[in-house]
């Protein structure tokens, strides 16, 4: 039986390993990668698993982005209102402070002159009332006009 002819064993085994190894190397290094590349491209193009996963991730990213921008705007607005509030409070506080401290003397002097003026006018009016004759409407009008000119001269 030719299959059991021992002479041929070495040559058969040698050439088998040669061709099998060459076949394996050529397939594994060049042809199988090329084929799997085509299949991968096609599956991605047809909306395979990778496509939907990419779309999901895209949606998640856009959602988080809108959330972040809304948050940022809220922070921005609150920052502005707080700032304005603080500035207003500070302005008022400093004004009242200034009125209490630096402008105290001027305020006092102003109040003093006001008081002085009112006292003087009241005194003149009282003196005038004793001088002028008691009359009705005309007399009152003339009285008022005379007092007004007195006021204006002060």
């Amino acid at each position: 039986m030719p299959q059991l002819d021992k002479v041929t064993f070495l040559s058969q085994f040698f050439w088998l390993s040669f061709f099998f190894l060459g076949f394996y190397l050529l397939l594994a290094k060049t042809f199988l990668p090329k084929m799997s590349r085509v299949l991968k491209v096609r599956s991605r193009y047809l909306g395979g698993v990778t496509q939907s996963a990419w779309q999901e991730e895209n949606k998640k990213v856009s959602l988080s982005q809108s959330e972040l921008s809304a948050d940022g705007f809220k922070n921005f607005r609150s920052f502005f209102t707080e700032n304005f509030q603080n500035t207003g409070e500070w302005a008022q506080a400093s004004l009242s402070n200034m009125n209490k401290k630096e402008l105290l003397d001027t305020n006092k002097k102003y109040m003093a002159t006001l008081g002085h003026q009112s006292i003087v006018t009241n005194k003149t009016l009282n003196n005038l009332v004793t001088l002028l004759p008691p009359s009705k409407v005309d007399g009152e009008m003339y009285e008022k006009m005379y007092i007004a000119t007195l006021f204006s001269s002060i």
Partner: protein, 248 residues
């Protein structure tokens, strides 16, 4: 009338020898060269310019083969089998194309020789065992004691499992060899009958059509057996790899 086993004789075409060792280029080597060359050139025509997105007939055929082997590995071994894909692919396509070329009349069937199939199966067996030891270390021996077996039977069971495991190497090779050789021998014998009947003449000339009809049907069967034996070889390799990677 020649012997039906003469179709398997090895004829050296280019004798190469180093002393007593003969590395001649024989008709077996020539058929192997033609087979691998044919397959690789077919593959090359399919993947020129990176292959087309909408496949033509040839590319569709190669993609069918590719996905077939890919599904086989994923079903048997799972995710860890991906790195064995090129090996399984070349085993399947090598055996398939060698078997199919052997079906051509006056050609030579490479896989009908014991040394070829034994060489393949013993190499695969050794490789799978090495993969098992690499992955699990000495724990690989726990594969020989199936889970859920009572511990009293352990000595007997381990020896039995060891013999059964070692027999895988032999059975894988002998299965392919026996199928190929028996098929070709049967076809040759029946064709010999038809030839003898035809050469007698007379009424036997018409009766010789019966062996011819049987040979016709048998050739169809042998084509099926060629593809099936390649598939069986490949799937058993995947099962043995699965046993080595996932013990039990």
């Amino acid at each position: 009338m020649y012997s039906p086993l003469e179709q398997f004789s090895i004829i050296s075409l280019i004798p190469i020898h180093f002393g007593n060792f003969y590395f001649s280029f024989t008709n077996s080597s020539l058929i192997m060269l033609i087979a691998t060359g044919l397959f690789l050139s077919f593959f090359n025509f399919v993947t020129t310019n990176g292959g087309r997105l909408i496949p033509g007939y040839k590319q569709s055929l190669m993609e069918l083969l590719f996905e077939f082997i890919s599904n086989l590995i994923e079903e048997q071994i799972g995710k860890q089998g991906k790195k064995f894909f090129p090996l399984i692919f070349t085993i399947f396509s090598f055996i398939l194309i060698c078997n199919l070329i052997g079906m051509i009349p006056y050609s030579f069937t490479v896989t009908s020789h014991l040394v070829i199939t034994f060489g393949l199966s013993v190499s695969i067996f050794i490789g799978v065992t090495i993969v098992g030891f690499q992955k699990h270390g000495l724990h690989f021996f726990s594969f020989l004691l199936p889970p859920g077996a009572p511990l009293i039977l352990a000595p007997l069971l381990v020896v039995l499992e060891l013999v059964s495991y070692s027999f895988r190497a032999i059975s894988l090779g002998v299965r392919l060899f026996a199928n190929m050789m028996a098929g070709h021998t049967l076809v040759k014998i029946l064709a010999g009958f038809g030839w003898t009947m035809m050469s007698v003449g007379g009424i036997m000339y018409a009766v010789s059509l019966i062996p011819m009809g049987i040979v016709f049907a048998l050739t169809g069967l042998e084509l099926g057996v060629a593809c099936l034996q390649a598939y069986v070889f490949t799937i058993l390799t995947c099962i043995y790899l699965n046993d080595a990677i996932h013990l039990h």
